[in-house]
């Protein structure tokens, strides 16, 4: 892992912990992001953490860009010694795979896809070595996921699969981005899953849809009254496959502001996780469902 610093114009510094994605790179980026927030450097405006990088915005009228750069570099050693441990939450997200709405959309944009004759799930299953979409879906929801970035548009989480790299699913993005994606589509691009928080353009493959609102600017949704965005970087997600009947029932509950998602406090320790991935995930599941 080699850290790379570069200016984004005269108001931003972009810091890439690593070119490739890993939880090590994410944790180092998160540690540095926390260190930047805590340092209260004069002229610092805001910091945005991403999967394996982060970005600082600053006011060059208050601090010279080179001075800001030097301040960030001094924080790198602090971040390196920070413990790779988080007190976070695990959240169950119901997913209706192969739903009619993303299916209609993916058919509408078929000419922009690598495999115009199949569906996104058939294609993803094939290139990842699964015999059927059904087997691929099991691989998608069997292990927990880690929110490694929130962004693109308001409240959209990027999720990284908590398995060893050999088992990680990887798919390309659409050849040309779609101009439409249903709200709350569960998507996939590169090694990341995502949930589209709002309807709009998108380039990720589409696998299903969740009835759970994850962004609510009016803040009427029962679990979004404190803040309009559900996810934070570091949250852990477990997909729960549901059928049409459960989708409809959950959606009705969400819209009536009476849905309470299953959310539990949990700690995540990178060293312990890396030492025994399957065992650690089993403990995360116990934390979610109780034993």
């Amino acid at each position: 892992m080699k850290t790379r610093y570069t200016f984004g114009g005269d108001e931003h510094i972009f810091v890439e912990m690593d070119e490739e994605m890993s939880l090590d790179a994410f944790f180092k980026s998160l540690s540095m992001t926390n260190a930047v927030r805590a340092a209260q450097i004069d002229g610092f405006t805001e910091v945005c953490p991403a999967n394996a990088s982060f970005q600082v915005k600053f006011d060059p009228d208050k601090i010279a860009p080179d001075d800001m750069l030097a301040e960030l570099k001094t924080l790198e050693t602090v971040a390196e010694s920070a413990e790779r441990r988080l007190n976070t939450r695990i959240i169950e997200v119901p997913v209706f795979y192969q739903d009619p709405w993303t299916h209609e959309t993916l058919m509408r944009f078929r000419e922009r896809h690598q495999d115009p004759k199949g569906t996104d799930l058939d294609y993803a299953a094939r290139i990842n070595g699964y015999d059927s979409a059904a087997e691929f879906i099991v691989a998608h929801h069997s292990s927990p996921w880690f929110v490694s970035m929130v962004g693109f548009v308001a409240g959209l989480p990027f999720l990284y699969q908590l398995v060893d790299r050999e088992r990680q699913l990887e798919v390309p993005k659409y050849l040309r981005p779609r101009t439409d994606t249903p709200k709350q589509t569960v998507g996939y691009g590169g090694c990341f899953s995502c949930i589209y928080s709002v309807r709009g353009a998108g380039g990720y493959q589409m696998f299903g849809i969740t009835p759970m609102t994850i962004y609510d600017p009016k803040q009427t949704t029962s679990y979004l009254r404190d803040f309009m965005v559900l996810f934070n970087p570091g949250d852990i997600v477990k997909w729960k496959p549901i059928d049409r009947a459960e989708y409809d029932a959950t959606l009705a509950d969400v819209e009536a502001n009476r849905y309470e998602p299953l959310i539990r406090d949990v700690a995540f320790d990178l060293a312990a996780f890396s030492a025994d991935i399957d065992g650690y995930n089993a403990k995360l599941m116990e934390a979610l469902h109780g034993v």
Binding site: T6, F7, G8, G9, D10, E11, H12, F14, E16, D18, E19, E20, M21, S22, T45, E46, V47, C48, P49, A50, N51, A52, S53, F54, Q55, K57, P60, D61, P65, D66, M149, V150, G151, F152, V153, A154, G155, L156, F158, R165, E170, P172, K173, R176, P177, G189, G190, C191, F192, S197, V198, G200, G203, Y215, P217, K218, V229
Partner: protein, 323 residues
Amino acid sequence: MAFKVINPGLLTTVQDLGRPGYFHLGIPISGAMDRFALRAANLLVGNDEDAAALESVFMGPQLEFEVDATVAVTGADLPPRLDGESKPGWTAFKVRAGQVLTFDYLKGGARAYIAISGGIATPPSLDSRSTYPIGSLGGIDGRPLAIGDIVPLGKGPGAAEGRSIAPNLRRMPGTTAELRVLPGLYWRLITEAAGRNFFADEWAVAPEADRMGYRFRGGRPIEFKKREQPFGAGSDPSNIVDGCYPYGSIQVPGGTEPIVLHRDAVSGGGYFTLGTVISADMDLIGQLQPHTPTRFVKVDMPAALAARRDRRSLLDKMRASLS
């Protein structure tokens, strides 16, 4: 205290200086694309510089006033008329209750700013009235103005009629544009020839140019150095592991059409970026019409900071001329 929208024009939104602080959750700063013009319009009518006003793209709205007010129109050359009578741009004028404000056809630039004394008083969300339609924030129910909207105004005494900004302090876009760029970010992924071509070629603003980003076309495709794609990035050579995008950063999906992200920017994504338009030139982008011939000009950090100081000094002179 309000005005009524008889016709919203093509796209008219409520904008102030934006909502900083939420980009880490994908919520962009938003606010006026031409911040200088918004500040000027507000100062002309006696508002605070950061009051909320209207931003109209290419076409003006038709507004009927329910109260007496002072109005000023800055930014694009979009000549105002009050009950049919021509009024000057960059100059405060009085409006009486019942009068109707309309606009002639656009003569230059892209976005006009219409400030009204007292400022627009729609409810703020996350401390800003700026409209961010993708996230349904700000403005009226998070959307652009529509026919029949009654838009509330704050209380304000209103400045005297005839207050004006001298022509040498107005920023008017020319028929061609130069955007100064600090190379960086993922510049290293492209070949040397591609880097030279990017600055040598003439580009033109594409029709897909909006508050999220301005797209350009007409230059040669970008070529990438050969490399093995890093894990998690995706297979196209223009793909990276999804990261943050600075405001003003230039991405070139597939290596073909550069997009400069603006005030409603997506906060991140999986396309490489090759550099960033300097802060001093961001306002100018908001005034570029589709098809405007554009060149990207390579600058270094000292030049970017000098340009920023020049902009600052222009703003100070504008403020001083009105105080």
